[in-house]
Symmetry: C2
């Protein structure tokens, strides 16, 4: 009987999720897995038995290097939530039948909160039925909102991208000798980690953003406008970073105040875009000043052309560590990053029970937020700065970054 591994990717894309895939793949191969399968579109695809033999796509060191430089899930993704195993055992029976047919011994899932919920449920079910399959979670999310890990792979590159484009937006916004307010909307539904990264823009060559608004702090529109007005006494051009998820004291999202048509997705999540546009319109109307809104949108999670080498390396490491742990017999765990020191930055990996991770959210500590000045405290900068260090140059072919794509059988 063959001893095979399988790996899937789930949830929103990041620019380093494929480095984790490379780590899982290479360690599984070196530890002697006969075949390393990839799930097309995560567990949703696995349920339809859509899998690929990864060794056919990843044949050379060059292809592994391309994979590390390719943003967004190489295997495709899904937003599939496993049902309760007591209410719907048939789904589990089907999944385990497919895994047994594929002779899977090691199962890896790269993703965020929802994906760790999948690892939780599969390992719990596996225990119940006495399956020998090992289930390991590999953390991934630009949102940096997973528990037990110091930070999540994906966050460093997104933070670097956000800080770099904020510097560029600030240069662009301050070029004229006229009054203007630029409001930049950054991802993060409930946790402000990504928006906080705008604070990294400030340096010898950049004044930095003038305000940072996180979902961790209740937002007041009138107070915001008053602060903008106040800032305009001293500076002509103001640049503000706001999270898409900022909320009023009564719990409503700021973007819900706008008249725009709003959508709720299949999972009941509200579409949160429009926060910056709403605030920009309010500032223009209240202060009679030119105001512009910019949404960083999906660009911030798939900017493979500018990644943090630290992040790429750690994404690879957590993938490799998950494979090593599974081969040692671990199951029902997620690999976390554990920081040993800030300066010099040192970080290692450790395994945690996935029940400590699934369905929890880690927010920005309130003591890292300067609520009066709407800015980040030095503690945040010490935390985040190491994560954006160093670069991994894209492979440019014919003027553009080259990616690797999955050739389905």
């Amino acid at each position: 009987m063959a001893r095979n591994a399988i790996v899937g990717q789930s949830g929103g894309p990041t620019s380093v999720i494929n480095a984790s895939l490379a780590g899982v793949f290479q360690v599984c191969q070196s530890r002697g897995a006969d075949t390393v399968y990839g799930m097309n579109n995560g567990v949703a695809g696995l349920l339809e038995k859509r899998v690929v033999d990864l060794s056919k796509s990843l044949k050379s060191d060059l292809e592994i290097e391309m994979l590390k430089r390719t943003p967004s899930s190489f295997l495709g993704s899904c937003r599939y939530k496993l049902p309760d195993m007591d209410k719907d055992p048939a789904t589990y029976e089907k999944l385990f039948a497919i895994l047994n047919e594929l002779e899977i011994e090691w199962f890896f899932y790269i993703g965020g909160n929802d994906s760790m919920d999948t690892i939780c449920k599969l390992s719990d079910y596996g225990k119940r039925i006495g399956s020998p399959i090992r289930f390991m979670g590999v953390p991934k999310t630009i949102d940096n909102d997973l528990m037990v890990t110091d930070h999540t792979p994906g966050y460093g590159s997104a933070a670097k991208y956000i800080a770099a484009v904020m510097k560029e937006i600030i240069r662009d916004a301050t070029v004229y000798d006229t009054k203007s307010v630029t409001i930049v909307e950054i991802m993060g539904r409930n946790a402000g980690w990504l928006t906080a990264a705008a604070a990294l823009a400030r340096a010898e060559d950049c004044e930095g953003v003038d305000m940072i608004c996180l979902p961790e702090v209740a937002f007041d529109v009138d107070e915001f406008i008053a602060k903008v007005e106040n800032l305009m006494q001293e500076k002509k051009a103001i640049v503000v970073a706001v999270s898409e998820g900022i909320k009023l004291a009564d719990g409503r999202y700021v973007c819900e105040l706008s008249d725009d048509a709003r959508y709720v997705d299949a999972f009941g999540h509200k579409n949160l875009t429009g926060t910056a546009r709403y605030l920009s319109n309010r500032v223009s109307a209240a202060l009679g000043i030119k105001s512009r809104s910019i949404e960083l949108s999906t660009l911030q999670r798939c900017a493979g052309h500018m990644t943090s080498r630290t992040d790429i390396t750690e994404a690879y490491q957590v993938g490799g560590a998950a494979a090593r742990a599974a081969f040692k017999g671990h199951s029902g765990e997620m690999i976390a990053l554990k920081r040993l020191s800030d300066d010099p930055y040192q970080c290692t990996t450790e395994a945690h029970d996935v029940h400590e991770v699934a369905n929890f959210e880690k927010k920005v500590p309130l003591e890292w937020i300067n609520q009066d000045d709407m800015d980040m405290m030095p503690a945040f900068l010490h935390y985040a700065r190491p994560l954006i260090q160093a670069e991994l140059t894209p492979m440019y072919i014919n003027g553009l970054p080259r990616h690797i794509y999955l050739e389905n059988d």
Copy 2:
């Protein structure tokens, strides 16, 4: 008496406008200008005598290299249009008095259509009064809409950025196994050059965008929705590139159809944002499909972190060529880029009477547009591909691209 030069930057930022400044500065210095002044905020600042001695900011080769890597106008910009010299001679008298006081012999202005209008008027007025000052224009605009030049410095880098992020957006948009339409809005009020650059994304590793809509072709919303519906028969995830300036057959901008508040700026230009959002809402409503809009916004004109080395080099060359021409006695001209061949790509510079440039707009030739398929013809790809070649690596310090900033006296 000193023999001095002065240089200004005007209009919207680009990521290579400072390479032209470097070219003007270095050639003026090497040809023996006593002082090279920079205008703060272009002619608007010059009228207030806000000038700097550039040798104080640009003291070393390292600073020149930083300048080439710094996006958005180093000297600041303006959107000032000189009045008619017969109606308002006082403005001209004031400007020439300041230039004479600064002992200016050579005057350079880096910009687009409006800036060439400034060179036109100043050189015409100079001739009228017998001034010995030489006035030269240096082309700059991401829009690529200037006459007589094969292309404009700034376009290549913006095109490279657009093509690279379209590849990333396509990877991000196609990651789920569900139906979706992503509509990306790209700058370009009347000329579709930037939106056309989305066609460069297609390569061995990328299917490319599914439709490209330029302002050169009248747009029909119902026809657009029908084409999307048709495409969805074959593909699950569609990505479309639209110009912010697409218009209906009756001349109205598509974005004017939306209910959003609209602003008209001080020059009577309509604010054109909202085109993609409007179309995305229409597609969702008509087809019941998830649709997302993305505006590349100012990111596309100030992305100093990813520039075309070809573009940076040519931006430097046109600045240097303008200085050489002025020192030879040319005036009232703009330096144009003249393509000698596509493959291998060769390009040189030549001077043109600025009257041929000012206040004209160059559009994408209709024969380069495949109107049925809403795509670009190979002729466009042959034209644009050389302009995005090669890279100039940013100087990363502490994880972020480092820029140089003007220290005012």
